[in-house]
Each structure stands twice: as C-alpha cells, then as structure tokens.
C-alpha cells in the first residue's frame, strides 16, 4: 500500500522553507554593506590575533613566526603597551590548511574582536584569508617574502616583494659575471611567478635561462632534475624550492659532484632554520637572498637576537620571516600611536612614512602599496651553520609589487 502524502510532506517541508527564505538577501552590487569589524578596545587590554600553522607541514616554519610575535608583544607590554593598553595575544592554529586559516581569521575578527592579526606564511593561506579581511575591513600583517602582484587595502606586507629579494639576487649574479642560469622550483604560485620575472630580467640583461624545472611540493626525488642541471653546464642555479624538497635537492646536488664554487645556487627559501635541518655538509658556500640574517650587524639586531635566544633557547637561530614578524608588531604600534586610535581606517591613514629601527636596519612604511622599504642582502652559508652577508643593496629598496618601475617587466603584471 503506497501512501505517498506523508513522505512527500517531509520532503517538501525543507524545499518550501527554502523557497520562502531564498527570497531575501541583497543581490550583487545592490547595496554595499559598509559595516566593518569593530575591535574590542574597552578595558585596559587590546586583543591581537596570531594566525599561524602550529601543526601540519608548515608548522616547521610558522611556529618560529608566532614565537617572534610573542616576543615583540612581551617587550611592548613591558614598556607600557600601546596607547596605554596592554596587548593580549590570541593564538589560533591554521593547521597548514587554507580553509582553516580563513575560518580562524573570521573567528578572530568576529568573535574575539581583535584590533589586528599577525600571521600567514604561504601565499595560499594569504589568498584564502584576503577576502575575509577585506569583507570585514580588518587588518592583517603578513611577514613573509612572496611573489608580489598584490596590494590588498587591508593587508600590510612586511616581507620582501620580488623587487626587494629576487631582482637584487639576479643583480648580484650578474655582477659576479654569471651569464647562464638554471631555474629549479616547487610547483606552486611563488616559484612560477618568480621564474616569469627572472626570465624577463634575463632577457633584458643578457643572461641565458638554460632550463626551468618544477617538482611537486614535498617531492624528494631529484635525480632527474639534477642530471639536467648538470648537463646544462649553467653557471648558476636559482632555487625556489620549498620545504622538504630543498633537503633532497642539495643532497643530490652534492652527490652529483656539483659545487658551490663552480655552480652556486641562490635560494630564497633557505634561512638559518633550514640550514640546520639540511646540514652544512651539503650547504657550505651556497648563497641565499634575504633582507636579514642573524649575523646582520647593528645594535638593534644584537638586542633582538639576545632577547630571542634568552626566551626560547640558545640553540635557536633567528631568520628573516621571524624578524619581519617582530618588526610588524612594532610598526603597528607606531601606526596606532600616530593615529591616536585603534580604528582600522585611522591606522591605515596614518601608516605612510612610519619608521622603525629594525634589526634589519631602518624600515619605512610605504602607504601607497602598504609594503615597507627593505635593504636586500645576499648571504653565504658558512661552516658554522650561520649565513653571512656578502653583498647588500646599500639603500633600502622602495617596494614595487607590480614591478611598475622596471622597463623590462612590462607585460608581466
């Protein structure tokens, strides 16, 4: 006996509710929702969010960024806080998963009502949270070097963009008389974008690009790629590999008989922490392109290194992303104090021209692009496991995320 009515009722109920309720809600472009996030600045503390991967594959790198931010917060609180309020850090775990980053960002902004968020590492995580910050009109401070081609109105970028890291790296190779280069990278946004820039530079500067190879993220088999590199007889290698791949690549490099003297490798993802995990046995004499090293001279750096080692352990090195994160907290403090308020629009308006005596040297915020002026430094890995500077750009370089100021780069962005 078939009695359909009851069952169909049960099925139609949600459908009917659906139709009724779907009649509401504005359509795209109808009215701009202008309410933004409001930070909770009542009471004598101000909350800030720390959004890093504390678990998963990226935990390797991101935990140190969180630690550097914590150090800055502690120091600022000891000196009286920001506008008289102590900073209360709320740390969330992105778990190396980009949707989780977006979810936690939303939580920090909407539920914890933080005044600013410091974090993210991979471009994928930043791309995933960008819409959240723009929708909610909240601020993110992003401390890692990246591929440029971005200028979100609600993100401040304290890491290097391409003209502050990759282009100086190429300038250095050119100054050393290297006329051919082989490009090796992990298969994702940053290396692919970086290599496009490198090829444009090479074409305009008389350097031949002899090959371009990508390995999947996390790949540890480099026999073929190193064979190709060796066969090409390039005078240098530009390495944009990331994570585990770097370890395998350098072990293969040495086994194939290639040396830093004959075919140096310039890497942009190898900092002091990675040197520790690969070993000087394989890295001795290789080059890196950053804006800061633990060995960078200067009183501000000495103080920073000492404080970091005292808090986290004498065997812990300091690296560029950590320093950029540390600087970002102080820059935010300076912006807030200049604006006299925690409100996002006022802080943004006050940002241009704010300076800070950072461990990497004097940095200035460029209000138009929301990046900072940074000095480029090329370093060489030493047998003690530390990286020492062999060249720097002299003056801090003005950030140019779309490479507008470089004639050879037209058509890239």
């Amino acid at each position: 006996m078939l009695n359909l009515s009851g069952r169909w009722k049960a099925a139609l109920l949600p459908v009917a509710a659906l139709l009724v309720l779907s009649a509401c809600g504005s359509r795209t472009g109808e009215n701009e929702v202008t309410t933004g996030a409001v930070a909770d600045t009542s009471g004598d503390t101000v909350k800030v969010g720390l959004l890093n991967s504390l678990s998963g594959t990226m935990a390797i790198s991101e935990v140190t960024v969180r630690d550097a931010v914590r150090l800055a917060v502690e120091e600022i609180n000891a000196a009286g806080g920001v506008l008289g309020k102590k900073i209360e850090p709320i740390s969330e775990d992105g778990a190396s998963d980009w949707p989780t980053f977006a979810e936690k960002a939303e939580k920090l902004i909407r539920e914890d009502k933080v005044a600013a968020v410091f974090g993210c590492w991979t471009s994928a995580s930043r791309k995933a949270v960008k819409p959240v910050f723009e929708e909610n009109k909240a601020l993110l401070f992003y401390p890692v070097q990246y591929e440029g081609l971005e200028q979100s109105p609600y993100i401040f970028y304290t890491g290097a963009t391409t003209n502050q890291q990759i282009v100086p790296g190429l300038d250095y190779l050119k100054s050393q008389g290297k006329t051919s280069v082989y490009l090796v990278g992990s298969d994702y946004v940053f290396p692919r974008t970086a290599n496009k820039i490198i090829k444009a530079y090479a074409a305009a500067n008389g350097i031949t690009v002899l090959g371009e190879d990508y390995a999947p993220l996390g790949s540890t088999e480099f026999g073929t790629i190193v064979n190709k590199v060796k066969a090409s007889k390039a005078s240098a290698v530009f390495n944009t590999l990331n994570g585990d791949s770097n370890v395998a690549f350098f072990k293969e490099y040495k086994s194939a008989g290639l040396t830093a003297a004959a075919m140096p490798v310039v890497s942009v993802s190898i900092a002091e922490e990675e040197v520790k995990s690969i070993g000087t046995q394989y890295l001795d004499g290789q080059l890196t392109a950053w804006n800061y090293y633990q060995t960078t001279p200067g009183a501000a750096n000495e103080k920073f290194v000492k404080a970091y080692k005292a808090k986290y352990g004498q065997d812990k090195p300091t690296s560029d992303p950590m320093e950029a994160a540390y600087v970002s907290v102080y820059l935010w403090k300076a912006m807030v104090e200049k604006a006299g308020s925690f409100e996002v629009e006022k802080v943004k308006a006050a940002a241009d021209g704010v300076t800070f005596e950072a461990p990497e040297g004097l940095v200035t915020v460029d209000g138009a692009t929301q990046h900072i002026h940074k000095t480029a430094r090329i370093g060489k890995v030493g047998s003690d496991g530390l990286i020492t500077e062999v060249w720097n750009s002299g003056q801090p370089i003005k950030p140019d995320p779309y490479l507008k100021g470089y004639p050879w780069a037209t058509g890239l962005a």
Partner: protein, 366 residues
C-alpha cells in the same frame, strides 16, 4: 522498489528539518552557523560513504576527487559569473598569461551546464573508474589503495596547472552566488538553508536506496560477493551504482561547500582529506542512516574546537579515534545503544544442573 512509508521516518525528517531550519539559525551566531554549513557539507559526503562502504563494503578513500570535481565546477562558474560575460577570472589575468579563456572553462559560464555538471561530472568519472575496476574484480584493499592514488594524482594535476586552476591557492575570493552578494549575512544564511535542505534530500535518497531491494542486494554483495554472483546477479553493477551514487553526493557537497566556505583548493582533494571523510562515518556508525551524518558533524566540530585549544591534541585524538573506534567499536557510536541493549537482554545464568534427565532434553540457553 519504493520503500514503504513509515511514520517514524516522516517524523524523523520533520524533526530534522525543524532542528536545522528553525532551531539552529536562532541558537547560533552567524559565524557558528556558517561553520555548521561547512559541517553539513562534510556530512553530505559521509552519507555517500555510508552507502558505499557501510552498506556496500567499498572502502573508498578517494572521495576527495569527487568532492573536488563538484567544488571546482561550481567555483569555475562563480568565478566566471563574477568576472562578467566574456571576461577572464581575476587570477587568470594575474598568473595565466593567457589571451583567452581555455576551451574547457567556457561551458561553465552557463549555470545550466555548471549546476548539473557539479553532480554529473563526478558521477561520470566514478562510472568510468568503477567500470574499469569492478569488472576486473579489483576489490577490497586494492580498490582502497587505487582510490587513494587517484586522489593524489588529481591533487598533483590541479597544483601543476596553476594558470588555469589557481594551483595551490585554489579558487577563492567569490563575490556573488547566482546573483546574490555573498558578503551579505542574509545571503549567507540562505546558503546555509540550501545546504541543510540538500542534506535532508540526500538522506531521503539514501534511505530509499537502503530500504529497497537494491539495498538488500548491496548488503549481500558486501557480505558474500561470490554467493551473489552464483545467484545470477552481477556484483559489479551493484557496486557501480553505489559508487556512482556516493560520487554524486560528494560532488553536490563540494559544490555547496564553495559558497558556504568561500574556497576550494587541492588540499581538500588529496589523500588526507579523503581519509578524514571516512573517519566521521566510522565514528558515527557506518552501516546506519544517521550515523555517518552525526559522526561527520561531531568529528568536524571536535576538530574546530580542539584545534582552538590544543592543536597537537587534535592529531592524537584523530589517531585514537581511528584506532579505538575501528578496532574495538566497528559499528561506531550508533552500535553502542545496541550493545547496551544486548547486554541487558542476556538470559540469567543456568540454574543448578539437575540429575540425569528423562527423555525430555533440557532447554539450551541462548
């Protein structure tokens, strides 16, 4: 093959509808409601896995592929809709260095293609793969590993084609959903209602399949495939239907995940998320109807809450859940009620043995 209507089922669905449509939006903040929408998408995948694995014995560890196909189909359409007619999506202009939209993107501009594609495309892939694999009687462990490898391969392919798929970034930054502005919280709520309605629909379909003759055949294939073959049925076809259905459900879930969460990327498609879909089903009770749904929601909720407090603890808990539930409680939490009931019903111990009995044999205790 229509299942008989039962008052219990109708009441159950009505109660579920009330809970999802009336109670939840009132009780939860906007943020938590959008989290619930995400959990419900994962629950939709779980319904399919419950059908294929719980009832069919097919341990499919590659549901991420179908989830991703549905998700990317929807995301591609939304990106094209955002860009406007004839324009390329924003990320392509940034990374692609392409002059025109690739040919395989163009059909997704039309919602009449994109919407059905979110469900039909995964089903097609599942049909092709299943036909190849089931006919050659690849089963059990081999099938599980193959499905894992498929998930891994698809993730690699997507990451490698950065200019056309967004690579590791995936597709994100959506403005509108079929003309509705996604920034508006009222529209976010509408998306939640669509997700909840879709879940109830899938549950109704699953119940239909489970209670029909096909459902019995599926369980028979799970328990003794050879015997079913000797009886004259083709187990390959039976398994194929279950696999394709599960793929369609995962595809729909992926499609709705995009407006609910705002992103789709290869990390949601590879080996690890594919296995994570399965754990919720295992915890809840793989062979029941509601078990997978409740298990998936519970596990997703535990993940969010725990990772807020103790990030390392979540990995341990996840591992422990796998170990303890699958090894010691294979029926999941849904079977706990049954176990408790069985213990209570156990007959009282034997009375003292009597002297050698006459012709009437003593009753053997159950």
């Amino acid at each position: 093959m229509i299942a008989r209507f039962s008052w219990r089922a109708g009441a159950g669905f009505a109660a579920g509808a009330v809970l999802l449509f009336a109670v939840a939006p009132v009780a939860l903040s906007d943020f938590r409601l959008s989290l619930l929408a995400k959990y419900l998408c994962l629950a939709m995948v779980a319904v399919g896995i419950g059908l294929a694995w719980g009832r069919g014995g097919l341990l499919t560890l590659g549901q991420g592929v179908f989830f991703g196909l549905g998700g990317y189909a929807m995301a591609m359409h939304m990106k094209l809709a955002d860009a406007g007619p004839g324009q390329m999506p924003d990320f392509m202009q940034l990374y692609g260095q392409l002059d025109a939209l690739p040919w395989w993107w163009r059909p997704f501009a039309s919602p009449w293609f994109a919407l059905p594609a979110t469900v039909l495309l995964p089903m097609l892939v599942a049909f092709l793969l299943g036909s190849l694999v089931f006919r050659r009687r690849v089963r059990g462990a081999y099938f599980a590993i193959l499905s894992q490898a498929l998930a891994a391969a698809m993730a690699i392919l997507l990451i490698g084609a950065q200019g056309t798929t967004g690579g590791t970034n995936g597709l994100t930054d959506f403005e509108g959903f079929f003309g509705y502005d996604l920034d508006d919280p009222v529209n976010q709520r509408m998306v939640y209602f669509v997700v909840a309605g879709a879940l109830l629909l899938l549950l109704a379909i699953a119940r239909q399949l489970i209670r029909s003759r096909y459902g019995e055949l599926l369980v028979a294939v799970r328990d003794s495939e050879e015997r079913v073959r000797f009886l004259g049925y083709d187990p390959a076809n039976v398994k194929l239907v279950a696999y394709v259905t599960a793929a369609g459900m995962a595809g729909l879930a992926g499609a709705l995940f995009v407006p609910a969460v705002g992103i789709i990327n290869p990390a949601l498609i590879g080996i690890v998320p594919s296995i994570e879909f399965v754990i919720g089903v295992a915890v809840g009770g793989r062979a029941t109807l509601l078990g997978p749904v409740l298990g998936a929601v519970a596990v997703a909720w535990a993940k969010t809450t725990l990772s807020e407090e103790f990030p390392a603890a979540w990995t341990y808990l996840q591992g422990l859940l796998f170990v303890l539930v699958v090894a010691f409680l294979p029926g999941g939490l849904a079977s706990v009620a049954g176990l408790v009931r069985r213990r209570r019903r156990r007959p009282p111990p034997d009375p003292a043995p009597v002297s050698p009995a006459p012709a009437v044999p003593e009753e053997v205790p159950a």
